[in-house]
Subunit: 153 residues, 8 copies
């Protein structure tokens, strides 16, 4: 059953990203999906981050959401170490509005994709994770079908 | 078994996108994953496109890849009609290099995400689709683990 | 007579666009032109939006104004379903200033144009609608000629 | 009858824009709509351009298409002198890809809109002109409804 | 003598540009150079603007400063009608930061240059005007040499 | 008499800029205005460049044209050392199309303006120089009035 | 010993840059590295700036940090006069967010590099200076190894 | 002595970057500085890359040059694992001209800088490395002083 384990890891590079990434947490709470939140900078804590990334699958996670700003390498670094699908959230920046974060996340080289959502799109990252989990978990799929119908009304 | 049905729909807005989107087809062939290729413009053929999008799940598809250029609405339009995860491929444009395609695909509003990959990143779209399918299909997962190991060597 | 029916449909993707789109309403009130305001997201409510779009002409509308932000597909989606001229208003965004909205609206593919005005240019969208209606309705044309003269003084 | 007079003026700033603007001419020929083509630079020939613009309506034109590149003032200059709807075509530039042309045309101030289409979108400019003329001329409307149906097949 | 007549015309498209353009006025006051300030929109008041532009030389002006924002045609329109050097000041915009104003002013076609300064650079526009006037007026040149020395200390 | 001395210095940072800057030379030849062409990099030859810049006025030059690409400091460096008006020509770049050159030249700080023309706009730089010289030299002014009239025909 | 002399020169073009550049000072204080702070505009005070730059090495400095905004020539001008490594800090701008500063600093021509850090990245400029000094000064290297370990925890 | 060991590691993410990075090799050969060239993708070979990065200092390298394109994480990943100074070379891209590479490299978060040079600026990366090595190695410093003098002539 999908309800008994943490299916999603939400990772962000800095505590300052928490407000934005909360948008994803809210969606998972609404859907009753368990997740783990980790703060680990790809650049300041590369060993911790890579170790965490390598163990993601063995730890039972099925989808990863990674948010980062500026030269936003975190989603790509996670993706380089895991076979799980990684969803990237570009965080808006004060100077360039998040165009830097967006390009740093979405323009990944052949072989290692990151599923990128809109700038500050943490909520949509969670919805995308739910769409992915819906393929396997019928109870999640059922809730998402209801959510989708609800959007239209 | 994942081998007996078409799991992925590859849709593009114009015949001129075929060369780029072939990158996705090549990956699926390499992995022995069946797919269907459809050319249907979101803007010129909205009825055909929306009908197709609405039936994607009933038709047995599990992931959708949509490639489009310029005001690239196709991935978002598909995503508005289906609960399946939609992967968007921004096609490079002659004038703005694909920045227009990228922003038109990635900046989706809350509620309806598109999993965006790099400009002309059709190959990575297929790899992302495989990562998603790997959660459910062990035989695909096995092949992808091998592919991932192969990248490193 | 142009005064007895609603000639213009003003559609926007989200309630948060109302403040900007009010610029168009103000102009129509100044000119005594009736309009209908509709809020319907292209992505969250595709069925409602496409049904509305398909009926625009039968419902007696002659020009459509559509405002949207980010991956701003609404004007293009409307244009795909109607033969009426569609005027698009790119809404300014917090992160990219509206460059995303602008490119998503203006870069339409061959066959389905959207008449795009400036970022947050709802007032000009209404003026453009009035210029279009002036070709057919002499009383609107008369008022617009006066308005134009007034600008110069 | 719409067939007996020139309804559309196609104006461009330079002979070098002719190849792009031919896209509009082709559409008008396909629809049997008469047009006049004028080459007149807003900057090098301001007197000729403004005189031409002021007479557009008296000369019987109903819609204007203006194409220009770089600091593309031509559509806005025409719009400043006429009450007719003006459609602007940003011409692609060698250095900035046409982003300069696009912003110079679309970002018009309140009071004087230009209906902007895609970079190099001369074909769509003609289609937009036809949509506008369709409101008044039933025979054009009929042809356009057929064209629209044809796109979908 | 340069002190007895108005040498510089400062023109701007809108009253809202006055705060920025005051930077130029302050410099001229500091140098004791007479100027005339005119508000005249290129788009809303084309007749007034072109008439003014055509008379600039006959009216005794020697340099023109024109400030404008968005699709900032004013400097180019002035330049199209006068043989005097025209200095353009791109006004910062809320949405695109003034990149639109800058490109609309600086990317002038061959034959009709506008001497463009920085976004909101009204002060520098005045200094450039003074450098130009210094070629002819020794007393201005003397003051400017002092100003230049002063900068370095 | 303006014909007997070199009034304009054309300086460029690299021999590779010669083809573009020739556009300015052609105009000066057409107008019979003498100029001197210098190649001196602001970055590789700062002593030579600053010495040259400091002597420009004493050497009899009245206007300077400086062309440079990428981090295009040459026009600003010249302007920092001379009281003469400096016209900057941003050279198109292979990677960013000249946006880098343009911003590096036009965004000068308060106190030291550079009169910036379009990307690769060497021809217009010469015309601007001629407009400036026309204030002082009647024979140049006369030729320029003729040139301006010629543009319109 | 590295502790007895000023190893780093921190130079900025304007007093308004002090708040940002303080980020570098804080790091040097934390590491006990002496520095000198100089305010000298490349454009307003070229003689002072070039003299200072030429003497940097003789004055005992080993690394230079230069911060500047807009057409940010200061780091490049310093680099043109010294053989010392120059680290450039692009200062965020009100209009273009610092993209102008970044391109003006990083796009240096062949032969004269500037080691560019992030927009407003004064803290990182100091860390980079420390990494460079670590190659030569063992006591700095030791502190930096500790700092690096500290980041990870 | 600096001549007997490899002081610089040149690392790039893909064999396709070799042509650009050769610019750095040429400079090192000219200066007689030994280097090692490594091809190792940050994303496809994260284990190899991180292991290599962690050993850089122990292996005797003193400066690292890393070139990468698109979502160019390689320089930042190297910098996260080593205390050596890392110089980043953004590789030009077909779609966005290298703006993506540049922002992905230069916009590093506080604590982990990358010394970024111009797009495709491999030659300058080598010169910067030589400036850094010159602080410690007198024989390199001597050659560089000669090189610098040579530039000016």
């Amino acid at each position: 059953m999908s309800e008994n384990k943490k299916l999603v890891a939400i990772i962000m590079g800095s505590k300052s990203d928490e407000d934005i990434m909360k948008g994803a947490e809210d969606i998972f709470k609404e859907f009753g999906i368990k997740y783990e939140k980790i703060i680990s900078s790809a650049h300041r804590m590369p060993e911790k981050t890579s170790k965490f990334a390598k163990n993601l699958k063995a730890d039972g996670f099925e989808v990863v959401i990674a948010g980062a700003g500026k030269a936003a390498h975190l989603p790509g670094v996670i993706a380089s170490y895991t076979t799980l699908p990684v969803i990237g959230v570009p965080i808006k920046t004060d100077d360039l509005g998040g165009l830097d974060s967006l390009l740093s996340i979405v323009q990944m080289p052949a072989g290692v994709p990151v599923a990128t959502v809109a700038i500050n799109g943490a909520k949509n990252a969670a919805i995308l994770a739910i769409q992915i989990l819906s393929l396997k978990y019928l109870e999640i799929n059922k809730k998402f079908e209801e959510y989708k119908s609800g959007l239209a009304n």
